[in-house]
């Protein structure tokens, strides 16, 4: 697989991964902008509104019909938070030309439809359709409220809100209910035009087409894009240390049967010149999978929880540990998690643990090569971090990680905040007998 990268229009970069390995292709277009309180609700709304209809396909029904005709191609609006950069746009999956029974070519039509959705929304008097904006505001508010339905995700989200209260990282990619309800369609139209003119744009294609053909299809699809001065001043602010000297604790009560304990850590000085390979291996030894210390000790040996796992956001330099537990086990589990982290810091892990972790992260990385959507996600993050290597190169770096590298990366990790979701009094029933 060969990746090529080219600036096809000022500020618009096309990455092409040419391969005939896949039966389905992917094409994504992402506008890059800074995550902040002032613009988040407009950013969260815009691609949703654009998906409601275009001048040529004025409602969802006609857009859906056009997609069905392209053998059920999907064009999904998305908003992704990567560190403190927001990536807004569309992701499309469609079958490779070799498998269309009538031998039709889909790439040009899909690119054109994405271009249409991005550049030619339904308007009246030059303004976005008010009904669509109002309807998508309601949906967005419903989705924000729905976060509480998934208690694991909700509690992780709450931890980040509290832990990063002084940083834009605390802002959710959907924004807040208040923020969404205050967006007006006129304001949104102006913002949308500004976004089109100044955002850097990343395009990713994976499939069998020649990059020249992809470039031509996109140049055609984006011809009408109004470009002004491009805003390259976007990035993520990495905070090295915890906010206060001692970890902060937050608890919340809801009618739930299982408690959720979430702990947030800062990676500290390891982020000055981050060794991403060592961080991956470290996370895997500590809490990233079934060979990890958290899984083996907290779950398997002590039966303290159903899940306990860690994840690192390498763009922001934070590590989050989350766990589902009995309410009255919170103190033991917390201590146990910290103890396991100390063990990693002190080098108390075996050669086997290191080897398993390395083999597991290497396997994760090379298996990205089998999935167009995983490759898209990976390369977008790499681009945002200014890294040029692919999954295989990163896998090679992981193979070379030593226990010294892991200890060095772990040493500077510090606990910043702890969040605990507990039940209402009457729901508490500990099964201490088991």
């Amino acid at each position: 697989m060969n990746i090529s990268r080219k600036e096809i229009i000022p500020g618009i970069w096309l990455s092409c991964l040419r391969t005939d390995k896949f039966k389905s292709n992917c094409l994504s277009v992402s506008l890059l902008t800074q995550l902040n309180k002032e613009t988040i609700s407009k950013n969260a709304l815009i691609t949703r509104v654009l998906s409601r209809g275009t001048t040529m396909h004025p409602d969802m029904e006609s857009l859906a019909a056009a997609l069905d005709e392209l053998y059920g191609a999907k064009i999904i609006p998305n908003v992704r938070k990567k560190g403190e950069i927001l990536c807004l746009g569309f992701y499309s999956g469609f079958i490779d030309d070799r498998f269309t029974p009538d031998k039709s070519q889909l790439l040009e039509s899909v690119a054109a439809l994405i271009g249409e959705m991005l550049l030619s929304p339904v308007t009246r008097g030059g303004l976005l359709n008010k009904d669509y904006v109002e309807s998508e505001k309601e949906k967005l508010i419903d989705d924000i409220r729905a976060q509480i339905n998934d208690k694991r995700g909700y509690s992780m989200h709450r931890l980040i809100q509290e832990m990063c209260v002084y940083e834009d990282y605390a802002i959710d990619d959907m924004g807040s209910e208040d923020g969404a309800s205050n967006v007006g369609y006129i304001e949104l139209t102006h913002y949308y035009k500004e976004l089109l003119s100044k955002s850097p744009i990343e395009i990713f294609y994976c499939g069998s087409a020649d990059p020249k053909r992809v470039e031509a299809a996109l140049a055609e699809a984006l011809m009408a894009l109004p470009r002004g001065e491009i805003d390259y001043e976007i990035g993520t602010d990495i905070r090295m240390n915890p906010v206060e000297d001692e970890p902060r604790f937050f608890t919340e009560q809801l009618a739930v049967a299982q408690g959720k304990l979430v702990m947030g850590f800062r990676l500290g000085e390891a982020m000055e010149e981050p060794d991403f390979a060592a961080l991956r291996v470290l996370n895997c030894i500590f809490g990233g999978g079934v060979t990890s210390k958290l899984f083996m000790n907290v779950r398997e040996k002590l039966s303290l929880c159903y899940y306990a796992s860690s994840a690192i956001d390498r763009l922001k330099g934070v590590m989050i540990v989350s766990s589902g537990i009995e309410f009255d086990k919170v103190d033991v589990v917390r201590e146990e998690i910290l103890k396991n982290l100390d063990d990693v810091k002190d080098g108390n892990f075996t050669e086997d643990e290191l080897a398993s972790a390395k083999s597991s992260v290497v396997s994760d990385l090379v298996s990205l090569l089998d999935s167009p959507s995983a490759l898209e996600e990976f390369y977008l993050s790499q681009t945002l971090m200014g890294l040029e290597y692919g999954p295989e190169e990163l896998a090679d770096l992981c193979r070379q990680v030593t226990s010294g590298d892991v200890i060095k990366a772990a040493k500077t990790i510090e606990l910043d905040a702890v969040y605990f979701l507990r039940g209402n009094g009457e729901e508490e029933n500990s099964d201490a007998d088991f």
Binding site: L67, D68, Q258, T291, Y306, S371
Partner: protein, 432 residues
């Protein structure tokens, strides 16, 4: 091995049945980095009552799932999950109403990992202590499920549809039911259901099918046994037990599933046809590109998580339409109206052609998911058809067949609905 080629979709499938009854299916995927293997038994949460040595045995809810957890313990003291993971693969397992499956995905040492998989799933090793310890872990998992509205709304829909079939009980069981499980229960169930003739091995990846077959022959040495005899209780009628269920939980908006049951075809080829007819009918009527969905979305009645599915399990066929809505009753009325319309007027020819095109595209896309492919290979091996035949069968489905299916299976009197309301809303309880 027998080889079936499907040039138009660029796939082939290699199949074999060993002397001991184990079925094997391999779909080679040259050029891919990872390979996926799934070893499954035709045994799930609904298989609670069965015959062992002529005697009828009843087991508590949750045994199949409990057994899944305990299978990873190996007699040498190792945990198979860790052994496989340390060998560079990502292993896991799941239990549904109808199936327990163990699988791994690996980017190297595939054949070695395959040997480990086949060995640990065939080896029963349980102790009273390890069973007791697992009760703590699974109790936590059950608590987690009890807090998950998606599971609760689904389980309650099944309780609304089925009167006797153990589909009524949750796959994981309850904290009380799993407390009754002993090491003996696990040994009995393993003996009955983990015999080769009740199992299948499915592999997708850049592998040599013959080598897969050879390894299976070497590792699975137990002989042929009778297929287990199960008892799902009295035959189910087509009407639901209760038409409505609702309950309050900590959710932001009502979550609903509208469901119905249909008599499943028993014969493999007939079941595949029924599956494609029903699937295409539901796709044309209720997919996210259907006029029904786009209309209700624009009216604010449906959100992007709406979906329609069919599920064959334990001698049942359930049809389910579910998602989130501020007014599930209105969605229910609209489903009835849509069904009535299809029953009386049939499918619009343009819409039908469109739906067929997009269903084909999404089936092609599904060939990229190794996990999804392996699961459908296992389902088809248990049901007795070839999964890749589905393209041809789908192509042959007519609008008339789809109309007939909908008119019958989604007749208004057959529909039930389960709803989870946000706490604080009036809880209307059950209606008979």
């Amino acid at each position: 091995m027998q080889i079936f080629d499907y040039p138009s979709i660029g796939e082939s499938i290699h199949t074999a049945t060993l002397a001991n009854g184990l079925t094997i299916s391999v779909i080679p995927k040259p050029g891919y980095t990872s390979s996926f293997a799934l070893f499954a038994t035709n045994y799930g949460g609904a298989d609670r009552n069965f015959k062992l040595d002529g005697e009828l045995i009843s087991t508590p809810a949750g045994v199949a799932h409990f057994l899944e957890h305990k299978m990873f313990d190996m007699p040498e003291g190792d945990n198979a999950l860790s052994v496989l993971a340390a060998n560079g693969s990502q292993p896991n397992a799941f239990t549904s109403s109808a199936m327990t499956a163990y699988y791994f995905e690996s980017t190297n040492s595939f054949y070695e990992n395959l040997e480990i998989l086949l060995k640990f799933v065939s080896t029963a090793y349980f102790t009273p202590e390890s069973v007791q310890k697992e009760q703590g872990i699974i109790a936590q998992e059950i608590r987690m499920i009890e807090d998950n509205p998606d599971y609760v709304v689904y389980d309650e829909l099944l309780r609304s549809l089925y009167a006797y079939n153990p589909m009524r009980d949750t796959v994981a069981g309850t904290v009380e039911s799993i407390a009754q499980i002993t090491d003996k229960t696990l040994y009995d169930c393993h003996k009955v259901f983990y015999s080769p003739s009740n199992m299948t091995l499915c592999v997708v990846g850049d592998v040599d099918p013959l080598r897969v077959e050879t390894i299976a022959k070497e590792m699975i040495t137990s002989g042929k046994t009778e297929k287990p005899e199960r008892d799902y209780g009295e035959a189910e009628g087509v009407l639901p037990v209760r038409t409505r269920f609702s309950r309050c939980m900590e959710v932001s908006a009502p979550q609903f599933i509208i469901g119905a049951k249909e008599i499943p075809e028993k014969d493999g080829a007939a079941q595949l046809r029924q599956k494609m007819i029903g699937g295409l009918a539901l796709h044309a009527m209720f997919s996210q590109s259907s006029p029904f969905y786009t209309r209700l979305y624009a009216q604010g009645l449906l959100s992007t998580d709406f979906s329609a599915d069919m599920d064959y399990a334990a001698g049942t066929l359930s049809i389910m339409l579910g998602g989130e809505s501020r007014d599930p009753e209105k969605v229910f009325q609209q489903v009835c109206l849509e069904t009535e319309k299809v029953k009386n007027e049939g499918f619009d020819p343009y819409l039908w052609a469109r739906a067929k095109k997009s269903a084909y595209g999404s089936k092609i896309r599904s060939l990229s998911s190794f996990a999804g492919l392996c699961i459908s290979m296992a389902e088809s091996n248990f049901a007795g058809y070839n999964p890749l035949d589905s393209f041809e069968v789908l192509d042959a489905v007519t609008a008339q067949q789809a109309q007939d299916f909908i008119a019958k299976a989604l007749a208004p009197e057959r529909l039930a609905m389960s709803v989870i309301n946000p706490s604080g809303r009036e809880d209307v309880g059950e209606d008979a």
